[in-house]
């Protein structure tokens, strides 16, 4: 954020302003000054825009807070051939995302202050989207010793997680939830009982036919159930990442009804695809947790529609060709998602499960609230992080056009609706169609 254009004023006129946090849904205009939103509303600039203000004509399109993606693997440091902070930022910008929370499973692991500071510095240099790092929950992600929750929080860690590794040891999880209360820190779990999760795809008829080892839905259900009991025991704040099963959604629903401090998210592939996507040994659909049955897919969709699931995160997991062009069992788990998060989230709106406001909420203010990020809403004085988009324009997803370094998406040819026209971070346009 250059200090030079600190006072630059930009007027977004002819916009359809939409903000889930406040319920704003009106035609109007918005004014930014430097890095902040300073004014907005239906009557702003009714009599024209004063001189000296840069004008951006939105041509009637929707102007919303930029998306907040709380689950992204940056691959930097360590695997820069798969993705870098810069390319992830470019991909996010093209996807309408203005803030991302970066998972700590880089090489080295982000389990100390210097790692977290490094990512923050590289993010500033890249000058793309805002990057909020997670801290590792345990040192080296080994599931044994807790990291310095307090110090890491002070240096910017927004929550603590062992990324794609479940914290399997119940005592470790118990202590993490207890200790985190000192700093009001959030614990994020990859909910999968590892001793039940030795497989490579969902367990069931298809894994049996394909001769692949299956992962039972109970691997997820049991871990979420156990963790809920530990939350009950400790009172710590808990977030279950990327739910994939009907059973886990039920458990979270009941835990919320009992007033426990529990939230959860899911990724677009868990409500847009099912296990049939791995037929023909398609490794681009190999993901952890695995794509599940159609019944589970419907339950995830329903969990989003009824508010049980609090947010949608891409779980962006870039992998190069060499990591995927392998026999299925040997291929890496993961799907890239920064450039498909928005159109796939909009499926909930297009399928009439949610209003546009409620649908946007799942990718803006709600995920921001889970991690306590000061973004994801349109308000006076708020950061000028915006996305201009057309929710209806249809197209077929083409991973070859992704800005991400990796193209491992199972959504090739998927009919989507919703195009990002412009992405603005701190008042600066970082993407324009």
């Amino acid at each position: 954020m250059s200090q030079l254009d600190n006072k630059t004023k930009r007027a977004y006129i002819n916009a359809h302003l939409i903000d889930p946090a406040s319920g704003l849904d009106t035609k109007g205009a918005l004014l930014t000054e430097g890095i902040h939103i300073v004014d907005f509303g239906p009557d702003l600039f009714k009599d024209g825009v004063p001189e000296g203000i840069e004008i951006i004509d939105c041509q009637g399109h929707h102007l919303a807070p930029g998306l907040v993606d709380i689950r992204v693997h940056l691959r930097e440091p360590g695997d820069e051939h798969k993705e870098t902070i810069l390319t992830a930022g470019q991909a996010a910008a093209a996807g309408g995302i203005t803030s991302i929370a970066a998972l700590p499973d880089s090489t080295p692991v982000l389990d100390d202050v210097s790692g977290v500071e490094y990512v923050a510095r590289r993010a500033r240099e890249a000058k793309m989207v805002k990057i909020f790092p997670y801290g590792a929950l345990t040192k080296r992600l080994e599931g044994k010793e807790l990291t310095e929750f307090g110090l890491l929080s002070e240096f910017g860690a927004v929550a603590f997680t062992d990324s794609t590794k479940a914290v399997a040891n119940a005592q470790t999880m118990r202590r993490a939830l207890s200790y985190a209360k000192t700093f009001n820190a959030l614990i994020v779990q990859h909910p999968e009982e590892p001793t039940l999760a030795g497989g490579v795809m969902n367990g069931g008829e298809i894994s049996t036919r394909m001769g692949l080892s299956g992962i039972s839905t109970y691997a997820e259900i049991i871990m979420v159930e156990r963790d809920i009991r530990l939350v009950e025991m400790t009172g710590g704040r808990y977030h279950a990442a990327h739910l994939s099963t009907a059973g886990a959604v039920d458990i979270i629903r009941q835990a919320k009804a009992r007033g426990l401090p529990v939230t959860c998210d899911t990724a677009p592939h868990y409500f847009c695809l099912n296990e049939n996507s791995v037929l023909d040994y398609r490794t681009f659909a190999k993901v952890s947790p695995p794509l599940r049955s159609e019944d589970d897919r419907e339950a995830i969709f329903q969990g989003l529609a009824d508010g049980t699931i609090d947010a949608i995160a891409s779980d962006h997991s870039p992998h190069d060709q060499d990591s995927k062009r392998l026999p299925f069992a040997q291929a890496e788990f993961g799907i890239v998602g920064l450039e498909t998060l928005f159109p796939l989230a909009l499926q909930l709106y297009h399928k009439k499960a949610l209003s546009l406001l409620d649908c946007l909420s799942l990718v803006t203010n709600k995920p921001a609230e889970i991690l306590g990020l000061p973004v994801g809403k349109i308000a006076k004085g708020a950061a000028a992080d915006l996305v201009l988009f057309n929710p209806d324009s249809p197209y077929f997803i083409d991973p070859e056009k992704f800005r991400s370094k990796s193209k491992n998406s199972p959504f090739t040819g998927f009919p989507a609706q919703g195009k990002v026209l412009r992405t603005v971070v701190d008042g600066r346009t970082i993407y324009e169609r």
């Binding site: 069931g204 049996t208 394909m210 001769g211 692949l212 299956g214 392998l326 026999p327």
Partner: protein, 324 residues
């Protein structure tokens, strides 16, 4: 209708693969078995070779150790007059960095007409087939399929029982990890046989009943009225506690002996894809009982069936409907 010339041309340019039984139609299976029947006679004659595949190259590419299957394919190709190269790629070479796809493309550059491939990963043979020009025959991929084994089993049964239709066949043992079981389930169902699986639940894959089979955990109940009893090999590493508690207990409840076999039809026949664990899944005397055991016939039929597969793929007589 394709003309004779087109059929030959297709055979020369390479085309279809045999990657599995799933997806094959009954008439295609019957045609292969008819073709194999003829080769049984040829193999029993003094002169066992023809020049059908003269000038063609067959590569046996085995990423997993195998003696019998590789030998069977080698003999089959040689008896049809092909040039055969055997390559056993130990897993250590893969660890050196060359991927399966690299290996496939390297060998493909040498213009093999047929590649016979075995790999320890399900789907690996299909992946390889997408990168080569010639035909690929799956000689076993992970726990997925082993189509020529199912075909040789079918030929063995058909020659003894006349027809597969209406037979009650029990497949017993480690179905969960068995490619032989999966290929046989597909083939027997396609040909109208009734398939039963007999195993402890730890050795049955999830939702296997959705494949059109009935499952039993009690061997005597499962064997009732069976015409054919197919035993599967139980890998040593699975006998030591994680899937079954001990060899002793496994043989007691799931090993085939005369007493349990008595529950099947009086003329029931016993099969095993080999290599056998005598005293683990099958009683040693029973395995050698020529009145009941088809185990050695299976080996003989193996060569004939593989000749039929090489014949059909290279001559283009099976191209329609075979996975390509």
């Amino acid at each position: 209708m394709t003309t004779y010339a087109e059929t030959i041309a297709a055979g020369q340019t390479g085309h279809g693969h045999l990657l599995g039984i799933e997806g094959l139609r009954a008439d295609q299976i019957s045609n292969l078995l008819d073709l194999a029947d003829g080769y049984v006679d040829q193999n029993r004659a003094v002169k066992k070779t023809t020049d059908l595949l003269e000038g063609r190259t067959v590569i046996n590419l085995f990423f997993e150790n195998s003696t019998r299957t590789r030998t069977s394919f080698e003999l089959a190709a040689k008896r049809l007059g092909a040039d055969v190269i055997n390559m056993t790629v130990a897993s250590s070479s893969i660890k050196k960095g060359e991927t399966l796809v690299d290996t496939a493309m390297t060998l493909n550059a040498m213009h093999p007409d047929v590649m016979v491939v075995r790999h320890s990963d399900s789907g690996a043979v299909k992946l390889l087939s997408e990168k080569v020009n010639g035909s690929v025959i799956n000689a076993g991929d992970g726990s997925h399929e082993h189509p020529t084994q199912a075909l040789l089993d079918a030929l063995t049964i058909r020659r003894r029982k006349g027809d597969l239709y209406g037979l009650r066949v029990a497949i017993c043992g480690d179905v969960a990890h068995s490619r032989v079981a999966r290929s046989n389930i597909h083939l027997l169902n396609t040909m109208g046989a009734e398939v039963r699986l007999i195993a402890p639940p730890t050795l049955l894959p999830s939702a296997v009943d959705r494949m059109g089979v009935e499952t039993f955990h009690n061997m005597k109940e499962g064997l009732e009225g069976c015409d054919i009893v197919m035993m599967l090999r139980l890998q040593l590493e699975r006998m030591q506690g994680s899937f079954v508690p001990s060899v002793r207990e496994y043989f007691r409840y799931f090993g085939l002996d005369q007493e349990k076999l008595a529950m099947a039809k009086p003329d029931a026949l016993v099969m095993h894809p080999g290599p056998m664990n005598r005293g683990v899944e099958i009683d040693s005397e029973l395995a050698d009982d020529l009145d009941r055991s088809l185990i050695r016939t299976q080996v003989e039929m193996g060569v004939a069936v593989r000749m039929a597969c090489l014949h059909a793929l290279t001559q283009g007589t099976l191209s329609d409907g075979v996975q390509s």
